[in-house]
Amino acid sequence: MSLVGHQPPPIFRRGLAPVARLLVFVAICLAMLVADLRFRYLEVLRNGLSVVTYPLQMAAATPADFVRNASRYFGTLIEVQLDNAELRRQQLGSGERLLRFELLEQENAELRGLLGMAQRLEVKSIAAEILYDAPDPFARKVILDRGAQQGVEAGLAVVDPSGVIGQVTRVHPVQSEVTLLTDRNQAIPVQVVRNGLRGVLFGAGRGRLEMRFVLPDSDIQAGDRLVTSGLDGVFVPGLPVATVSAVDHDSDSFARIDCEPLAGVERSVQVLVVGRAAYPPPPPEHWAGRGR
């Protein structure tokens, strides 16, 4: 800055100094990271800007689609026949069980009616296929080939034939993102089948699960089966989730409970998106403000 107040000539004018510019952008980035990871404020911005990236993403996914379809087309006949025989066998088994299930469901509805209890909620389900692992290497997520257009909503449970594998966390028009149970930021409320003990199951990374906040003297042992409790109002109750593999009652404040998922959480391909057709009534007024 000269003393007589002349501006520098335009060829030397380059705006903010590099360090200042860096600091401004780093500050913006950090603010966004906190807003997104801590408070989830930026979903609106994400959805808005995904209009720009979506066509590019669709174009980029085409070669992967092509490879997948080609490999399926060239699958051998023997493979298909073996598959078919296996499926027929399973169908026979599940058909018989389904017959009994229908009878029991009817009986249950009648008994509930007699006792004057609320009916079990209606369940809706959408068949889907896992397309590929989500590209974010820090999370355990997969992409499904069904989206908002087919009725998928955020929060629905995703199950394979043997149990829950995860939860829909983000919905795009024709695809959706599922966070697997083994992701460290994923939690699912569960219940021990044997005695109805409730707890919350968290992902522990590396394909393992951990049940937290259970008191050390609770009645839980290795081999117990865990199913969804449905207390969150999101998951359908009674879906099988995991078995307890090891319990350490001697830790300081809470028991340390390692679990193994029943479903092929990181392996299955064909899945079902399951959710409640109607939402339960909202909690009473005085609950508000006591955490989520």
Binding site: R14, P18, R21, L22, F25, V26, I28, C29, L30, A31, M32, L33, A35, D36, L37, L42, L45, R46, L49, S50, V52, T53, L56, Q57, A59, A60, A61, P63, A64, L131, Y132, D133, A134, P135, D136, P137, F138, A139, R140, K141, I143, R170, E177, D183, R184, N185, G205, R206
Partner: protein
């Protein structure tokens, strides 16, 4: 063909639309679902570093921020994760631009490697603070793939600038 400041070759001026086109193509390459295959190069980081070194007056932290944000949205990563990494990467690349261009392409690649690693390290730190799982050391393999790709990438991205306007045998250079 030696695209360094030492070589006597004069390049045509770069066209701004070509810079942004190459960045968009890199963005598209990044969106190709590659599963958990280790060592897939970070295309946007590479191309961005290239232009930040080649054209420090035109491409800088602003472009890094915008393309980082687009990547965050497309990949479903935390908002600002790639943006932060690329802003720092662009700043570092801008800073070393004057120096790096005096080296041969192979030595240039060795200068770029630590910059790519710093960007990856920043992303890991951000996500670990947020409680994510450490993706394993193979995650850093992609920077080394980038190192190998630097030479072909330099050739490819400078190709439009190599074309001579008219050939004159009497011209000294």
């Amino acid at each position: 063909m030696q695209p360094t400041n030492r070589s006597s070759r004069i390049l045509l001026p770069v066209r701004l639309w070509f810079i942004y086109l190459s960045l968009l193509v890199a963005l598209g390459l990044e969106y190709i679902p590659s599963g958990r295959f280790p060592g897939v190069p970070d295309w946007v980081a590479l191309v961005l570093a290239f232009w930040c070194i080649r054209e420090p007056l035109r491409i800088g932290v602003g472009a890094g921020f915008i393309f980082g944000l687009l990547l965050d949205i497309g990949l479903g990563a935390a908002m600002g994760q790639h943006a932060l990494a690329y802003v720092v990467l662009a700043w570092l690349a801008n800073g070393v631009a004057r120096r790096v261009l005096w080296f041969s392409p192979l030595q240039q690649a060795l200068h770029v490697l630590p910059i790519l690693l710093v960007a990856q390290l920043l992303m890991v730190l951000v996500r670990l603070v947020a409680g994510a799982e450490f993706p394993g050391w193979t995650y850093f393999l992609s920077s080394f793939t980038g190192l190998l790709l630097w030479l072909p990438l330099t050739f490819l991205l400078l190709l439009p600038q190599y074309q001579p306007v008219d050939r004159d045998d009497n011209r000294p250079i």
